[in-house]
Every structure is written in C-alpha cells, then in structure tokens.
Amino acid sequence: MKRTGLTLAALLSTIVFPYPLTVVFSFVASLFFFPAALFAGVLADLLYHAPGAESFPFATLIGAGISVLAVLVRRFVSSRIMSA
C-alpha cells in the first residue's frame, strides 16, 4: 500500500509540482519501489519533451539514474545499518 501510494505521488508530482520536487518524490518512492523514478521520468518526457526539440529526453535518463541510486542506497542501508 505504501509503495503504491508513494509511486502514485511521484507520478502525480510530474503534473502538479515543480520538477525539483518530483525528483525528491521519485527518490523516496524508489527506495520502496525501485522503478518508480523511471516511471516518473518516462511520464515527464511524454508530457513535456517535444519531438524535434534540441534537448535530449533527459527526464527518463535521470529517472533511471535515481532508480539505480535508490537501489544502491537501499542495499547499503539494509547491509550496513539494519544488519549491524
């Protein structure tokens, strides 16, 4: 339930909140459900990246990066802190 709620909040934040806040939401959601940030990134690109634009669709890439970071943080926490 918590995972679903956080993931939905991350996805909704792409439409409601400024993108720096979306990054925070996505990271927190990814700690509990790792593809959440990737999903949020894809959704942001679907909404805001225009075909033919000069810029690369970075949101998906950043979302994937946040997902990887969240997995690493979660592994670190579970192996170093929770097991200690």
Binding site: R3, T4, T7, L11, L12, I15, V16, F17, P18, Y19, P20, T22, F33, F34, P35, F39, V42, L43, A44, L46, L47, Y48, H49, A50, P51, G52, A53, E54, S55, F56, F58, A59
Partner: protein, 253 residues
C-alpha cells in the same frame, strides 16, 4: 519439480516489483500508447490536473516577496516600449511598412517551467485551427519560441531558451551577429570577440520579420587569456510567470 521458464520469470518479476508494480507498469505502457496514438485524448485527460498544478503554483507565488520582481517587470516593460518605439522610428525613417507581430491566436498556458523540466509550454489556443508547427510565439510582444507540435486541441511550445538550442541573433546598436545558446529557465548566453564593443545593457535581437528584442546583456565574462568574451543575457520573457501567449500566423515551415 522444476518450474517452467515462463512461470519462473513471472515469479521473479513479481518478487522484485510486486503486483502493484506490474499494474503500474501496464498502466504506464497504456499511457505511452495513448500518448503516441491519441495525443489529444491524453492531454484532455491530464488537463484538469495541470490546472490544479497551475493554481498551486500561483498560490505559492502569492506568498513570495514581490517588490523587486514588480520593479524588474516595470523596468523590462519600459525597455521593451523603448525598443519598440526605436524600431518604429527606424521603420518610418526607412519608409517601410511596419509588420504586426501580434496577428494570431491567443493561447492560455496550461503548463510551464518549473512544472516542465524543459523550457517548454503546453498551451490551449482559442482557435486551434490557426496553430501549426513552426509558428512563432510571442509573450507581452516579445518573441519567445516556436510551436513544436499540436496534440489535439493543445499546442506544445519550445522556447528559444531551451537548453542546447542555438538561435541566430544580434547584439547592440551595431547589430553584432551572435549565436544565442539556450541555457534553460529563459536564459541565454553567447560568445563574442572581446574587442567587439558589446556593453552591459545592450539589447539582444532575433530575426523574424525585422528584428525583435528578446533581452538585454546582463554581464560579460572576460578572461585576459582568451580573445573571446561570454555574454550572459537576461530575457524579457520570464517563462515561470507566463499566463498567456500569442501564437502568430507567421511560421517557419
């Protein structure tokens, strides 16, 4: 007993992301398909949420200190008026007919930075039939960008300040040619020779029919070891506070 490969994969996927994850994944794929094949329907569905986001942004903005912002906007409006009068005077002296840059359709801004991570706007034009990709877009009489695509009744606008975008322009009274590099958040930069005579406060122009002022030189970054200087430009259009734009009939095919 050994499980079949497909069942093992499904079990592995479920153990990693869980049932809600799989459902979200499926929902996202459906959204992607909807966005690709029925873009109008997709934007129609998210429009009420966009409106909520815009209202929230305004609510947050009303708590911010506004004196300096208001003074800056007034100064920008005066500078724009000054430039417009100067351009009109030059046209009258040359005997050419002035070109109206406001012929087009008004569009309400539905989503803008910082909601959008790129320098893009999603707008709802009053007359979608007049909107076509490549059309110039102006805000407060200043050229701001071009229409990138028109999903349904909406239009997506890419601002000239989009990161990575290069736009040819001029700077100063001497019309020194420069290439404006978009830096995001409405800002630009450009490189000029150090001895070109560019000064802080010089106007920056982009070509349309004639020359349009889009901002002023805010500062020059010079290095004694380099023959070039970087020009940092402050635009007249603030994409964070745009509420409506004019999509012009004039377009670049």
């Amino acid at each position: 007993m050994k499980m079949p490969l497909l069942r093992r994969r499904r079990a592995a996927l479920l153990s990693v992301v869980g049932v809600p994850g799989v459902l979200l994944g499926v929902a996202l794929v459906l959204i992607i398909l909807l966005r690709i094949f029925f873009p109008g329907v997709f934007f129609m569905m998210v429009s009420p949420v966009f409106t909520l986001g815009t209202s929230l942004s305004h609510a947050v903005g009303s708590f911010m200190p506004s004196d300096s912002v208001q003074l800056r906007e007034e100064r920008d409006a005066l500078l724009r008026d000054n430039e417009a009068l100067r351009a009109r005077l030059a046209l009258e002296e040359s005997g050419e007919e002035p070109v109206s840059h406001e012929e087009g359709t008004v569009a309400q801004v539905v989503a803008r930075p910082p909601l959008s991570p790129y320098d893009s706007l999603i707008v709802l034009p009053e007359d979608p039939s007049r909107v076509r990709p490549g059309a110039f877009v102006s805000a407060d009489g200043v050229l701001a960008g071009v229409v990138a695509d028109t999903p349904g009744v909406y239009a997506r606008i890419i601002l000239f300040s989009e990161p990575g975008r290069s736009t040819q322009g001029w700077v100063g009274e001497a019309r020194i040619p420069i290439t404006l590099e978009g830096k995001g958040a409405g800002a630009f930069s450009a490189t000029v020779p150090r001895d070109a005579g560019v000064l802080v406060g010089d106007s920056v122009y982009v070509p349309g029919p004639g020359a349009h002022t889009i901002g002023v030189v805010r500062w020059l970054v010079e290095d004694a070891s380099s023959p070039e200087a970087t020009v940092v430009i402050r635009p007249f259009v603030n994409p964070f506070s745009l509420t409506s734009v004019v999509i012009q009939d004039l377009y670049v095919p």
